[in-house]
């Protein structure tokens, strides 16, 4: 094992040496590491002077952590250029073939490139942050507490890993350095948006959410690394010369996988859709388990937190709540707004959103959205149970069965199957697929998801919408009487 890791370091070491011999890489790094903190320090000083006039201490306290986050980020963006050309640059210069012909495993080559891609920006970022902290310590500025400092360093590490791992994936899949650089915006833009969210959390002072953000970024970065290794094929580094979008090929591949050679609608339904469903069977099992966990978590959360709120509420407020709850809602007014097409479109949109969230995060965000959707059921049931404690005439099980079950029989399986197809897609993307390009794999998976969506999810949601619009209100009104 040591010898295998030695080869990873060998690949990284050569590249690292190469970088330090190139003034075009070194110069911007040095400028960013030593000049940017000075500028940021001056900015902070001016802001402090200005904000002191209005006693905006809270903003001042958050200013240094925010500056640290920005200072840590900039060297990463420059290093991205190096990571982006890790493979495609070598291909363009013709140095890749001797490396690929050497007795190095794919993972050794990949981690060697990844390692140097992460080390350089991280060292630059840490140096830059350290230099800034030295400058801050000389000013009349508040140093961030240890826990925030730790979060910022972890966040910088997560950003670097995320961006570099994405850049390496692009570098493997691109055919020219120019194409790789053009694709860099697909890394910089999402990370910039992400950082805006993190900055809000930083100013908001929500440490818990920031921890979640760090964990989320790290999970996506690790999945990206997995995707990169799964789809790293020497063949594609040598074989492809032009990367144009071949719409005809895209359509043909999708169509072929979607139709699956079926000659009739019945055959398609029975064999093609059937085999797609069999493929996602393990994902359905996982999704059912996730549903169980979400239901329990949301139920528990509502019971614990709402009980706490009720216990702390005044008697007067409780009476008001009870009075409102005892009024039977006028369901006929809902009918005007919530009709079958609205419900159908709303649910279809939710399943589609889960798919797209999953597609861009290797299922992570998709599963989270699914958990929120399923979790609602547990939360509603918990609320009904709490209400029944105050009002004995409310029977949670009866309301639940009347209001959720009739359409839920169709809607919940549709949501589960749609989410399982999304989960299957994410898991397959991060799994090595021999003999297939990344594009082929994604198209095949997209065809599978479309088959399941059109053949099963949409019909189930249509039936659910009809039941929810025309049967559930009547049953619910009866149960609430």
């Amino acid at each position: 094992m040591f010898n295998k890791l030695r080869l990873v370091w060998l690949v990284a070491g050569r590249e690292l040496k190469d970088q330090f011999r190139d003034w075009r890489v070194l110069t911007p790094m040095v400028i960013l590491v030593f000049c940017f903190p000075i500028l940021m320090n001056e900015f902070a000083k001016q802001t402090v002077d200005f904000l002191n006039q209005y006693s905006a201490n809270l903003i001042l306290e958050r200013l240094v952590p925010f500056s640290i986050m920005i200072i840590g980020f900039f060297p990463i963006t420059i290093s991205l250029v190096v990571a982006l050309e890790a493979f495609v640059g070598e291909k363009e210069r013709g140095t890749i073939e001797p490396m690929l012909s050497a007795p190095l495993d794919n993972w050794q080559l990949y981690f060697g490139k990844l390692l140097v891609g992460v080390i350089t920006p991280l060292v630059a970022s840490y140096l830059s942050i350290a230099f800034y902290l030295v400058l801050v310590s000389r000013q009349n500025l508040v140093m961030p507490p240890f826990i925030i400092m730790l979060q910022l360093l972890l966040l910088t590490t997560a950003h670097a890993t995320l961006m570099v791992s994405a850049a390496i994936v692009i570098s493997v899949q691109s055919t020219t350095v120019k194409a790789a650089n053009l694709l860099a915006s697909f890394i910089v833009i999402p990370v910039a948006i992400l950082m805006q969210g993190e900055a809000v959390m930083l100013f908001w002072g929500n440490e818990q959410v920031l921890w979640l953000a760090i964990a989320g970024v790290m999970i996506i970065a690790l999945l990206l690394i997995r995707v990169g290794i799964a789809h790293f094929q020497r063949e594609y580094l040598l074989g492809r010369e032009i990367d144009t979008i071949n719409l005809r090929w895209l359509w043909r591949t999708f169509r072929m996988n979607f139709l699956g050679g079926a000659r009739s609608f019945g055959e398609w339904y029975q064999h093609v859709l059937g085999s797609a469903l069999r493929r996602i069977a393990p994902a359905i099992f996982v999704i059912v388990l996730v549903a169980g966990a979400s239901l329990w978590m949301s139920y528990d959360w509502v019971i614990v937190n709402v009980t706490d709120v009720i216990n702390k509420a005044s008697a007067e407020n409780l009476e008001k709540i009870a009075a409102r709850a005892s009024e039977i809602p006028n369901l006929s007014s809902l009918k005007e707004n919530i009709n079958a097409p609205f419900l159908f479109l709303n649910n279809t949109r939710a399943v589609t959103l889960i798919f797209f969230a999953g597609l861009f995060s290797f299922s992570v965000l998709g599963v989270l959205l699914y958990m929120v959707n399923i979790g609602l059921i547990g939360g509603v049931f918990a609320l009904l149970q709490l209400l029944s404690n105050q009002m004995p005439n409310i029977q949670p099980a009866q309301i639940f069965f009347a209001g959720v079950l009739p359409h839920g029989i169709f809607e919940i399986p549709a949501l589960m199957i749609g989410s399982a197809a999304m989960l299957y897609m994410g898991v397959t993307i991060v799994t090595p697929q021999t003999g297939k390009s990344m594009g082929e794999v994604i198209l095949e998976l997209f065809a599978d998801w479309t088959k399941i969506f059109i053949g099963l999810v949409v019909p189930l949601l249509a039936v659910a919408a009809l039941v929810e619009a025309y049967i559930t209100p009547a049953l619910l009104a009866n149960a609430l009487k």
Partner: protein
């Protein structure tokens, strides 16, 4: 040492290599000839386990190129079309790096690197950045890299294309020496004179398929027909007195010379000479009509294209 069966490679709808069968023993040199884009590089890349065959199989140094890609790469030395040198490294650093990649011991790396740099005349420039090297020096260094781990199989793409005659001779000598030490060598080249002097076997690839394969003599016979010999005499002489073996056909004659086509030269040529001596003919010259690999190649290509045109 290298064996392939029905080796094929398809890129989407393009069939780059189609059913290549090769068998090269240890101590043999095979030359792959063909136009640019004929499939030579793709074949070599499959033999290096860089590309997976879409059909057929190949074994290199006893390893299957699909199942044992790592072992194949460890046993093969490759000189690629693009030399793949890191311009900011020195020659010493470059060979040291690849020596480490091939897990050679530090003493061996040092001695091997010194030997190769010395042999290829790069010792003086060993500590200069590769970016400062001439084209020929770069090619020699790339060749040194391919030989660094002393592989049992060498796949060389245009080994002397950028070299001056002296360096090219040096490389040819080294290839011959490697052959004598039972290395298996595949050369892709457009330099047909070089191929004639080095190769034991020649394969001509056209549009992914092997058009012709065999020794130089076999190819000459197959493409140009039986060998022809010109016999020059000092004085006018009546050739009808000559008792020729059955497989010898007289093609033309003058008073002092005649030209024959011989099916089995090893057996018939000595007989012709003996017969000439018996009739006291004064033989000035007995030489084979020059038939080069270039003639073979051009004719084979013309026939292939003509056939394709007819089809």
């Amino acid at each position: 040492m290298i064996e392939t069966h029905d080796l094929s490679k398809q890129f989407n709808e393009f069939l780059a290599v189609d059913g290549v069968n090769l068998s090269i023993e240890a101590g043999q040199i095979l030359a792959l000839l063909g136009q640019n884009g004929a499939g030579k590089t793709t074949t070599v890349r499959m033999l290096t386990a860089l590309l997976h065959p879409t059909r057929g199989w190949a074994r290199v140094a006893g390893y299957d190129v699909v199942k044992n890609g790592h072992d194949v790469r460890a046993s093969v030395g490759v000189l690629t079309e693009q030399h793949g040198l890191y311009m900011r490294m020195t020659a010493v650093e470059y060979l040291e790096f690849f020596g480490q990649v091939y897990s050679l011991s530090s003493e061996y790396r040092k001695s091997r690197s010194d030997h190769l740099l010395e042999y290829f005349g790069l010792a003086e420039a060993a500590h200069r950045r590769i970016g400062e090297y001439s084209k020929g020096m770069r090619q020699k260094l790339a060749l040194a890299r391919a030989m660094m781990h002393d592989p049992g199989v060498l796949l060389l793409d245009e080994p002397t294309s950028a070299m001056d005659p002296e360096s090219a001779r040096l490389v040819r000598d080294e290839i011959s020496r490697l052959k004598s030490t039972k290395r298996t060598i595949v050369i892709c080249s457009h330099n047909l004179t070089e191929v004639e002097s080095l190769a034991d076997q020649i394969a001509i690839i056209y549009r992914g398929r092997i058009l012709l394969q065999g020794t130089l003599e076999e190819l000459k016979r197959k493409v140009l027909g039986l060998p022809e010999y010109q016999i020059q005499l000092a004085d006018a002489w009546d050739s009808s007195r000559l008792g020729l073996p059955k497989d010898v056909e007289i093609l033309s004659r003058t008073a002092t010379s005649f030209k024959v086509r011989v099916e089995r030269p090893q057996e018939s040529n000595p007989q012709i000479l003996r017969s000439l001596a018996a009739t006291s003919a004064a033989v000035v010259a007995f030489q084979e009509e020059p038939r080069t690999l270039e003639q073979v190649y051009l004719k084979a290509m013309a026939e292939a294209k003509g056939l394709e045109h007819v089809q």
